[in-house]
């Protein structure tokens, strides 16, 4: 069952330095019980995408379509979105310490969400808070519910955030770098927890991260973003076994791997991610692209002309590159100075 259907989503902000086009036309769907991984570097638009889906994009101009369980959210009255947000779709943020209120106990904060959406009494809501804290593996939940965020360790706080998200039994959870601030042994616990909850309740999850390892562990489908657009979209296995976009391939080749043979060189992508204020013309990746650098002049013109559209290259596999071919091996990326 399709939970979320996003079509041609675009988000832009007016800033003192000009218009920032943070997201420029992204499409994706999330099915119940499945995980969509959105991966990208800073400024790729991955977090803004999730905020726009949740209707948390203050002051930004959002266009396109976001349909959640059949309800169109773009342009919908604030009240409609408010009723869904936290209830049918919930968010888990990276930094639990700033996302939780320091003056209220963990139990109070979870209970508040439940009271707001279900109109339950305070007592019942607090009981529910203790129940979900137990569900996410917090020991002695009844006692811990009475504690404040600073009394929790980093891993426990992130569990509490997940409990808060789960308290109203949502159908979709958007997790934005939920494990980035955590140590790797604690990250493993939190990812395990999210996957178990998904199995038990058939939740749809959007996992936003810069970590391709996390994507490989949890995602069923993957959206790779670069400069505000989708560079590549594919089922996780396909993406990692036969990446097509030169950015995806470059990213995988530049990653040091625990399971790599010693002495495998890292092939870095030169240059830096583009500025969203003044993105490069055409394909946002072309100034760093090895295929572009090696291409004949006539072909290059296409890369700098229009933004390449996503096109289907295999079943469920889309890539936004004009030069891509299913070739094996590594691309040597070279910076092209204009």
């Amino acid at each position: 069952m399709t939970l979320l259907e996003v079509k041609d989503l675009a988000v832009q902000f007016d800033t003192a330095e000009g218009v920032v086009r943070a997201v420029r036309g992204v499409d994706f769907t999330v099915e119940a019980g499945r995980t969509l991984g959105i991966v990208g570097e800073s400024g790729s638009g991955k977090s803004v995408t999730s905020l726009a889906v949740m209707g948390l994009h203050r002051g930004a101009e959002v266009t396109g379509s976001v349909r959640f369980q059949g309800t169109e959210l773009i342009g919908a009255p604030e009240e409609t979105v408010r009723q869904l947000r936290g209830r049918r779709m919930a968010m888990v943020f990276q930094d639990a310490l700033t996302s939780l209120h320091p003056y209220f106990t963990i139990g109070d904060q979870i209970a508040e969400a439940h009271q707001t959406h279900f109109g339950t009494g305070r007592k019942a809501a607090l009981a529910r808070a203790v129940e979900v804290l137990g569900d996410v593996g917090i020991p002695e939940p009844a006692r811990r519910a009475g504690e404040y965020p600073h009394q929790f360790s980093g891993g426990m706080r992130q569990r509490a955030m997940i409990a808060l998200a789960l308290s109203c039994e949502p159908d979709l959870i958007i997790a934005d770098e939920p494990t980035t601030a955590l140590d790797v042994t604690v990250q493993a616990q939190v990812l395990e927890l999210l996957m178990k909850i998904q199995q038990d309740r058939g939740l749809g999850i959007i996992m936003i991260t810069h970590d391709l390892g996390v994507i490989a562990r949890v995602a069923d489908e993957v959206l790779v973003m670069y400069g505000g657009s989708a560079a590549e979209q594919a089922p996780a296995e396909t993406l990692f076994s036969t990446p097509r976009h030169p950015y995806t391939r470059g990213l995988l080749d530049s990653l040091p791997r625990l399971d790599a043979a010693d002495g495998d060189p890292l092939l870095a992508i030169p240059g830096s991610p583009p500025s969203l204020l003044a993105p490069p013309a055409g394909c946002a990746f072309h100034p760093r692209c090895g295929l572009y650098a090696a291409a004949p002049e006539a072909v290059r013109a296409a890369c700098t002309g229009e933004r390449p559209p996503l096109r289907l290259v295999a079943e469920d596999h889309r890539t936004a590159c004009l030069l891509d071919s299913p070739s094996e091996g590594r691309i040597t990326h070279q910076e092209v100075t204009a």
Binding site: E41, H210, E237, S254, P256, R257, L258, A268
Partner: protein, 325 residues
């Protein structure tokens, strides 16, 4: 075997506790009994989770912090307690690269001023400095025209290159790099790791590379030390530590790192540790890892294991009563 460049023996750091009117806080033992050598031109990786004491150790190596126990020897000479006057000539041989390139570069100085500062501090002639700085900026992959700019005009990766140029200005023999790539985007990390590797080949500089990212450490290091709660729990050649870890913590840590390969991920045996790393202010008794260790026995709760060679024919040491290998 060449003589070690750096010899660290029983290094310890206890941060003093505060004595209030009603409560007395004991000190926090951030680093406890840490010993290792670094040979010329090699990279020793120092890995561990937050609070394990890896950064504190790094700072003590270059005397940004004065250790409360143990000694640091540089070329056989004890530098732990020498005064600033004696330390100054040594500073040129012992440098540091920091995690946040922007926080560690003065925003009001030009790149020229930043990179030349260590040379000026060492009393080099202005003419020499100008030529040297131009060489350095090229060495780290930037151009001389960048010298007149200010830090905010650079991206994170470029700023880190400037930090590296500054660290290398005095031709150090050892550079302590504390999480030098963890603030950078993935595609930029490989650039900086590659640069550091090239500079090591060209200049013969040794690194102590401190990081929480086990994959990066595996890539750049020759030897690796794994720290947990202020102590080294395993140290040895990279291959031994990564391919047949002896300490259950090393094993769990390695198995917790997600691999960028969904098929391998599904097949993998994963050891999920319970709980969080404990606070160094209140460490568990005996082996500090025992509350999270899947193999803990009675002896682990009472007796702290010593670092020792666990399998014949290797130099790898682990601090465990029941090592894996």
């Amino acid at each position: 075997m060449t003589a070690p460049l750096l010899t660290v023996q029983d290094l310890g750091m206890t941060f003093p506790g505060a004595n209030g009117a009603f409560r007395r806080h004991a000190g926090v033992r951030a680093v406890d009994g840490v010993s290792f050598d670094v040979r010329p031109g090699e990279t020793l990786g120092l890995v561990g989770e937050s609070g394990c004491g890896k950064s504190t150790t790094g700072r003590m190596l270059v005397r940004l912090l004065d250790p409360t126990a143990g000694r640091v020897g540089f070329h056989g000479r004890d530098i732990t307690r020498i005064g600033q006057r004696e330390l100054r000539p040594l500073r040129s041989k012992l440098q540091m690269i920091f995690q946040d390139p922007f926080a560690s570069l003065n925003p009001r100085q030009t790149v020229q001023q930043i990179i030349s500062a260590p040379l000026r501090a060492q009393g080099a002639a202005p003419k020499e400095i100008a030529a040297e700085v131009r060489d350095l900026i090229r060495l780290v992959g930037l151009a001389p025209e960048h010298l007149e700019r200010y830090p905010h005009q650079f991206s994170g990766g470029q700023a880190q290159r400037i930090g590296i140029a500054r660290a290398l200005a005095t031709r150090p023999e050892l550079v302590v790099a504390d999480e030098p790539v963890s603030a950078l985007d993935v595609s930029i990390q490989a650039q900086i790791v590659g640069l550091m590797e090239r500079l090591q080949r060209e200049l013969g500089v040794a690194y102590v590379f401190i990081a929480h990212d086990l994959a990066v450490v595996r890539h750049i290091s020759h030897r690796v030390a794994v720290m947990y709660l202020g102590r080294i729990v395993e140290i040895g050649d990279k291959r031994e530590v990564y391919e047949s870890p002896a300490h259950p913590y090393t094993k769990a840590l390695l198995s917790a790192v997600p691999l960028p390969d969904p098929l391998a991920e599904r097949r993998r045996e994963r050891i999920v540790l319970l709980g969080d790393p404990p606070s160094p202010a209140n460490p568990p008794s005996g082996c500090t890892f025992h509350p999270r260790c899947p193999k803990a026995q009675q002896i682990c709760r009472t007796e702290a294991p010593l670092l020792r060679i666990t399998s014949a024919g290797t130099a790898r040491q682990a601090a465990c009563h029941f090592p894996e290998a």
